[in-house]
């Protein structure tokens, strides 16, 4: 009886968390991991960045901006932490929807690595890249910040490093969770 109960319990757990993802299914676990990291990233901005320095925080009425309460070491690390979280979140989410095999994960990692790197390197080009941004962008929410992003943003090698590290971590997460928990779409 006890053995049968244990076997049933294992079967239930397997069905919930360890069922192999089939071709064409969404890896819900990966999507949830990505979303969680994304939410953590947003939380980080909300807690440690000021609204006059971060565009999307203008949509929040009041954020605490606790950056000054952090030690210098955390501030230094924290500067590149959101970049790391961004690449992890979006790589794992994308992998959860389309990728199954190692090759697919590598492609997704490279894709988001390239996107993040392009934006980072663009900050180093400032005026050269801004000249090709159309003026009508300023009429749209978020896009209106693109010129400021490149003009006021600062290129940082640490950001590039965190993008590379984020891609690697995202790849490992994707591999580890690749065969777990699928959900049909």
């Amino acid at each position: 009886m006890k053995e049968a109960f244990q076997a049933r319990s294992i079967a239930v757990k397997t069905s919930l968390f360890h069922r192999e993802t089939k071709e064409g299914e969404v890896n819900v676990l990966q999507v949830l991991i990505g979303l969680s990291v994304l939410i953590l990233g947003v939380l980080f901005y909300y807690l440690f960045r000021s609204a006059d320095q971060t565009y999307f925080l203008k949509f929040f009425s009041d954020n605490p901006n606790l950056k000054d309460s952090l030690s210098p070491g955390y501030i230094l690390m924290g500067n590149s932490l959101p970049t790391f979280m961004h690449v992890v979140a979006f790589t794992v989410m994308t992998a959860g929807i389309i990728a199954r095999q190692k090759r697919g994960y590598v492609s997704v990692c490279l894709f988001w690595f390239a996107i993040d790197c392009l934006f980072e390197v663009g900050q180093g080009l400032d005026t050269k890249i801004v000249e090709i941004i159309p003026y009508w962008f300023s009429n749209f929410v978020f896009l209106e910040n693109l010129r400021s992003y490149f003009l006021q943003g600062r290129f940082d090698y640490l950001d590039l490093l965190s993008i590379a590290l984020g891609s690697l971590v995202a790849y490992i997460i994707s591999i580890k969770t690749g065969n777990l928990k699928g959900g049909k779409l």
Binding site: D52, Q53, N145
Partner: protein, 299 residues
């Protein structure tokens, strides 16, 4: 059918994720790059127009010292008064001839509290026959600066110049002195402040008999003082008379534009010679939202 629906839903999800991913980069300002907020106004605005105007005026005075001393092309050589040396290669004849060239090297050359270092090369490009500084004459000199620095040891200030410019000076029998300064790139640095003047053409016409003068300024200046680059163009010649009123321009218009966001300013000389009327179109939409005045004394 179910499979096709699944593909469509996935496509929508991927598009949304991609859009969210890009938007979140733009909206955040990105990691160590620092956060950003949108530029509500353009680069040229009411907060920096005075600095920009001062930067243009300061940078366009670069040839002033040379023009004042142009008659004396003899460079002192040997030991400097308070230490260091001046050495030269080549020479400029008396009278100067086309292609005469001299490279002067200052080696910790100290005179009073000023120490000069670096090199400067002067080449005669055009010269009138039997040039002696008495009108009528014409002289065109190319000057190349190579880390030419001047340090005031009392104040601890170092000014360094790099780049090139060509100065053309001519004067006729009617007392009209014409000075034309043009160049590709000239960088001036004062400690941490750097100004680069590029593709510039400055022309001053001054009649020392009648007192009439005109000024034409065109070029691009980028400066750490105001943190960017602007192009300036004289749309109406600045004119005035040295013997009337303040002796400053009483007419003339300078258009200053930032090519990236089209923000611009119009600097118009007041007819009483007191200063410049400033109009700023910070949004670059053709409408001037801000007006101000800056006196010549503050430039």
């Amino acid at each position: 059918m179910k499979r096709e629906l699944s593909v469509i839903i996935k496509f929508i999800c991927l598009t949304a994720i991609f859009a969210l991913g890009v938007v979140s980069i733009i909206g955040s300002g990105g990691g160590g790059g620092g956060g950003t907020t949108p530029i509500e106004t353009g680069f040229i605005n009411q907060d920096n127009i005075v600095e920009i105007t001062q930067g243009i005026v300061d940078s366009t005075l670069i040839g002033e010292g040379f023009v004042e001393e142009f008659g004396d092309l003899q460079i002192p050589e040997g030991a400097c008064a308070d230490g260091g040396t001046i050495t030269s290669v080549g020479s400029i004849g008396d009278p100067p001839a086309v292609d005469d060239t001299i490279t002067v090297t200052f080696n910790d050359c100290q005179e009073f509290s000023d120490i000069t270092d670096g090199t400067m090369t002067l080449t005669i490009k055009e010269v009138s026959t039997d040039f002696d500084g008495i009108p009528p004459y014409n002289l065109k000199v190319e000057i190349v600066f190579n880390d030419l620095s001047s340090e005031d040891i009392d104040l601890g200030l170092v000014a360094t110049v790099n780049g090139d410019m060509t100065i053309t000076i001519s004067e006729d029998d009617a007392g009209e002195l014409r000075v034309r300064i043009q160049g590709n790139s000239l960088t001036q640095q004062w400690d941490s402040e750097v100004e680069e003047l590029s593709d510039f053409l400055l022309e001053l016409v001054d009649n020392w008999i009648t007192g009439d003068f005109s000024i034409d300024l065109n070029g691009t200046i980028s400066s750490t003082l105001f943190g960017g680059s602007v192009t300036f163009d004289t749309t109406t010649l600045f004119t005035g008379n040295e013997n009337i009123g303040t002796g400053e321009p009483t007419a003339g218009v300078l258009l200053v534009i930032n090519s990236i966001d089209n923000s611009q300013a119009l600097l118009s000389a007041k007819d009483d010679g007191s200063g410049l009327e400033i109009k700023v179109d910070a949004e670059g939409d053709g409408e001037y939202e801000f007006e101000d005045f800056i006196s010549y004394d503050n430039l």
